[in-house]
Symmetry: none
Amino acid sequence: MSSSPLPAPDAGTGPAAAPRSPDATRRSDRSRRAILDAALDLVGEVGYNKLTIEAIAARAGVGKQTIYRWWSSKAAVLLDASLALAGDAQPEGVWAFPDTGDLAADLKSVMRATVDEFADERYAAPVRALTAAGATDPELGARFTERLLEPQLALYEDRLRSAREAGQLPPDTDLRLTVEMLVGPLTYRWLMRTAPLTHAYAEALVDAVLGGAGAGWDKS
Amino acid sequence: MSSSPLPAPDAGTGPAAAPRSPDATRRSDRSRRAILDAALDLVGEVGYNKLTIEAIAARAGVGKQTIYRWWSSKAAVLLDASLALAGDAQPEGVWAFPDTGDLAADLKSVMRATVDEFADERYAAPVRALTAAGATDPELGARFTERLLEPQLALYEDRLRSAREAGQLPPDTDLRLTVEMLVGPLTYRWLMRTAPLTHAYAEALVDAVLGGAGAGWDKS
Amino acid sequence: MSSSPLPAPDAGTGPAAAPRSPDATRRSDRSRRAILDAALDLVGEVGYNKLTIEAIAARAGVGKQTIYRWWSSKAAVLLDASLALAGDAQPEGVWAFPDTGDLAADLKSVMRATVDEFADERYAAPVRALTAAGATDPELGARFTERLLEPQLALYEDRLRSAREAGQLPPDTDLRLTVEMLVGPLTYRWLMRTAPLTHAYAEALVDAVLGGAGAGWDKS
Amino acid sequence: MSSSPLPAPDAGTGPAAAPRSPDATRRSDRSRRAILDAALDLVGEVGYNKLTIEAIAARAGVGKQTIYRWWSSKAAVLLDASLALAGDAQPEGVWAFPDTGDLAADLKSVMRATVDEFADERYAAPVRALTAAGATDPELGARFTERLLEPQLALYEDRLRSAREAGQLPPDTDLRLTVEMLVGPLTYRWLMRTAPLTHAYAEALVDAVLGGAGAGWDKS
DNA sequence: GGGTAATCGAGACGGTACGTCCAGTCTTATA
DNA sequence: TATAAGACTGGACGTACCGTCTCGATTACCC
């Protein structure tokens, strides 16, 4: 866990505007990883609301200052931890969206995987926490969106674009809108817990988006 | 503001399972309203994260215990405050979904109004806060969903059902799925702030859902 | 326990100067006794510092207001409770100091009894508490001294006066001073716990005081 | 004020048996002195009963936790404050009891000074408060007795011993008893306020005690 | 014997302080 | 100079009681 060595320290999430930014070259990678791991463990154990910087420091065997030096809030720590987690899962950089030529199948495959991820609290807890925190804290939200969300949306968009170019979608298709029609309802159910999140749901959603709710009905 | 007199006290949000529940018949309506109003004011002024029970009590001119007696957390207060706010806006019970016979127009009208509500921070701040808090606290989330969200979704569903019965939608249309395809992307943009939330977006979304992204395209 | 029926309500201890004094003739003797008993029980169980009006009310099965109506503080309640306790022990009014003609023997007898009382926490706890509270609260202290202490000192003084008149003490003996030389050291040990309080100590004290007081007399 | 640098932290007064004791070597002497001074000032201003930890912290410009870290109660703070006060008055260690050869004169001189101290509320208020608190809280009482009271009693005892060795007191004189006959009545009047505390009273008391104790001796 | 005025049990109320937890800053000593 | 450790100021937490204030339900006196 906790992969790519020593990214730039927390650039922008915090309001702090550090009085004098620390020297990143002397940063202890050992501590950094320990902090990230501790944060992930703890958010799973006690939940985001009861997650404290002190507990992270204690669990990581690290001074509090070492956390404050490099991150501006527990949310920022958790964001980096989630990025590290995602990075570990896909070490060769960015994740590859399948492209078998069958758009519906590819989307279903990816969305089924997403459903599974959401069901795994180990992965879902920090993301849910970040989503919630980001909703309330615009600064964090922007960073979360930019670093975690957008890269994934872009993959969807790329796949849809390739489908549009292949003539599998109308040329005037609003790609962004379509992505959100896929991702929005899924995320909605996950966050709001209005109903269980299943593979069947994901597949029905893909079918509905690609087919259209009233598609061809009015026409006839 | 703060309408319907003395609903049952916080039934279920709190984990406390009160040692000895207070006597609701002797509850001070004056204090209850003051607390709800103060909570709404403050969440608008300082945001949810910096909202404190102490500040609410001070602003309302109330002892802290009077808040803890009737609510289990600041989130629970805010939920009741939002319900009161919604109740005041629509005193004659539940809001009426327009039904002009033109489904697309009706949906667009409602969703444009929703976009406007989301843009009004006075209304949006507490809802955003509750959504976030509910994502992290399942108990609160359930209550939030049940009391605020579901009633609204039901209205959408009713309207779609009436459309389906009128033959404007295919008879096998999954109403729930369709509702989520409308509400999900809108909520997603609002929460994640991935892109600005406009009337045009709402209308495009309605068209896409009713028409289908690739509707008729593949077919031909 | 809790004897003489319905004495005047708290005359003087409190700063309250009641807005409108209650009608003592309608006072519930049942409640009064229950309160006094509860206070004594509780002070024995939890100590004076953790004794609360609410606990007394709950234990006595009485509304808080019923206590506040008749007493001005927990100390005032405890003072009445102690008076009732003392009154019960000596129902026929004031206690009789022995007068066998042998001053030393009489004093030793009384002081041995006092040592025993001090050793009985049932009796000692409230008195110790009142002594302590009175030291800090002059108003209460005055009342405590006047109602509990002085009557006892007067008995000592009377006995010494009778001895002086019988020629067993020098005619210029300062009675008050002598009383305090007897009672002071005993109380000192009891309060300060500098050393154990024994019968032997009490007797040695009497001998030392009388040896001093009669010294010049014997000589001539 | 607030002299000797960094004595051991509150060893024994509290029931807490600290979960993990703080590192006394890193203690802030600045804060410690500020707390002690604030406590003394406040006890003089509002009295012991209305003295609060919060007020001490506020007056001292200190976090509450800093008080709770080093003391177990307001009484413990006040005890240290009194010790510091006493230590400041007599920096060269322990106070010297006069020994002019004239025992009665020496005792009178000291007891007159004690009467004056008791009359000075600046000094008397905390001592009175501690005496009262100690009467109710045995643990505190023991500490109070050991640290403040006994050292003074020992001085009396030493002076009396020297007098006994000089043949000014009978060789079988009970020194401890004699000390208590001097100190007990004085303290009794001071605590109980049964009568005014004057120089004349102190002198009469010394005469009475010495007249008694030395009576049979002088004769021969 | 019904009217009425007070006390009574109960407990909600506006407050104050409690003792605890953590945030974020600062200091000290290692390495 | 970055670190582990942890004391510091400060602020909010949730709880316990304070003393006051309604509420019916007795209860005792007066008409």
